[in-house]
Symmetry: C2
Subunit: 362 residues, 2 copies
Amino acid sequence: MRAYQKGNQVEKLKRTISAILPLQQDWQQKAQKRLDSLTKPPGSLGRLEEIARRMVGIRQSIHPSTTNKVIFTLAGDHGVAKEGVSAYPQEVTAQMVYNFLSGGAAINVLARCIGAKVIVADLGVAEDLKPHPLLRVKKVGYGTKNMAKGPAMSRQQAIQAVEAGIELFEQEYQSNGIDMVGIGDMGIGNTTASSAIVAVLTGQSPEQVTGRGTGIGDKLLHHKIEVIRQAIALNRSDPDDPIDVLSKVGGFEIGGIAGIALAAAAHRVPVIVDGFISTAGALIAHQLQPVSKEYMFAAHRSVETGHKAALEKIGLSPILNLNMRLGEGTGAALAMPIIEASIKILTEMATFQNAGVSEQIN
Amino acid sequence: MRAYQKGNQVEKLKRTISAILPLQQDWQQKAQKRLDSLTKPPGSLGRLEEIARRMVGIRQSIHPSTTNKVIFTLAGDHGVAKEGVSAYPQEVTAQMVYNFLSGGAAINVLARCIGAKVIVADLGVAEDLKPHPLLRVKKVGYGTKNMAKGPAMSRQQAIQAVEAGIELFEQEYQSNGIDMVGIGDMGIGNTTASSAIVAVLTGQSPEQVTGRGTGIGDKLLHHKIEVIRQAIALNRSDPDDPIDVLSKVGGFEIGGIAGIALAAAAHRVPVIVDGFISTAGALIAHQLQPVSKEYMFAAHRSVETGHKAALEKIGLSPILNLNMRLGEGTGAALAMPIIEASIKILTEMATFQNAGVSEQIN
């Protein structure tokens, strides 16, 4: 039974990866033609036009709906927190989950601004959480193991985490529909795991991709870099095997984020990648299936040093740059109105012909 | 009678300028204290926190309202268009005003997304426009004169344009209230005027601050730079007298924009400056009263080459960078939700104490 489940699980990941197809250029061409007929100089709305084109390509519709906006905030704990790499104690992960559930966190406020639903999921918080109607429990373990001493999780757990993300997406997609999905995180210690993932997958050094997370000082930053260096040296993960990287130096919520990114792409739903941790998850998705990037939008450029390298490795250019470093999906919530605006431009603006406006002469 | 009116007019500008006061630091400190009590690492929302602080300072309230959002789109024609500096014919200014009034332009679409009101005003379109309930007529002239041959307008007209902006703001403010104001523009040839203004007021050369406007090619760009160089050399405006600069190489709608920026600051209303032309207007306001910058937010960084220099001269850092170059107030409409979100963060997030979340240890 266990062996069968295991086989079934890998099947889910394989099936999802193989369902992700490149965008069809003809839809983007249709969008471009429409954009060029609107009462504005061609290209003058810059990235708004680029976003609108890609949205049309993803949704295969010239009037893509943006009604059902969902932000998944995935929580997990990290054994490496024992190394004292964060400014906050581990119990903050669970405390913040309760804060999400009662609607008081930044992500709740920003999601309300845009009419998005926040789905909170426990991928691996270190304690059992009290049941709540808004909480999805997909626990892979009670926090990862300390990656500075050995692998953060088993290969099977890594696959389970990614597949938990796929399930989270598909359950909501089938029940209520999703037009646009944001991916966010919560987990004390998860910038440490993300820096390790990004270092291994981009080939950059820990110094180059490690930042201050929740706000540590110089001394702790130096220590954090050393812990990451040690974890990478000890675990010797295979950069060509993203599941191996996730299992050796990753996190349960990061695996879940990768799963959501893959599932969304498989169902042709745009994925709004939040900050550094979300991008580490998106990078794992990208390494599993490079085509998945065609469905991704980078919401913002985080203050975290490694974010730039991770975005460049995938090939994404951030929509916003607001010096944020909170996670939770907050950047995704702020970028969603820009994406919605791009669609309104496409669908609601007058054409030169309808408005009786003269076209370009020079 | 004429002499009296003239005196009365300068009075309005003087009165407005003298009503602009520096922000009180205690309000910003109150905002900071509140921000630091919220369930997030201190400073982790980056520019959102900076925006919230300044909004509280401007409005002198810890719960500033953002309900009444108004975008003024000011239209005017430019005699310099005769030099063939634009990709579009002059009649497009009037055609676009009708497009604004019928709700089909980009600014209408983006304003609808955020529930903002668009007020269209004729500051100096080259033809008489058909009356429309949404159109405010504050015509200073039928287009400016060609600045390549002489001053764009008289000194009196320059003052009249700025005071028309003050009146536009105050009429709406008194009738319906304004919590936040965006300033936008329409006018074939107005990037030429704006580049000239910015060159004179920043001391940069025409090459450094002149871009492609609505999308001209290399040859026309070279010609446009030469026209600006000629206009500056011929008119010899005084960089220490912003009204002189406006009269020699400016535009009616640019003067109106300066007036709105001044009036908003005088009434402690935040001003969301759009792109290059709006920033040229804001720069004139800033040179008339440097304190006005404390009430300004730069919505975005335009593709126009001179925008950076103009923003730096005022001392503003753009919220968005989306490679846009349309004007109308479109960037202001896209930045407003970010500003609103910053206020919601301040007023709706849970504190560490209320949510039972542990504070920083390291």
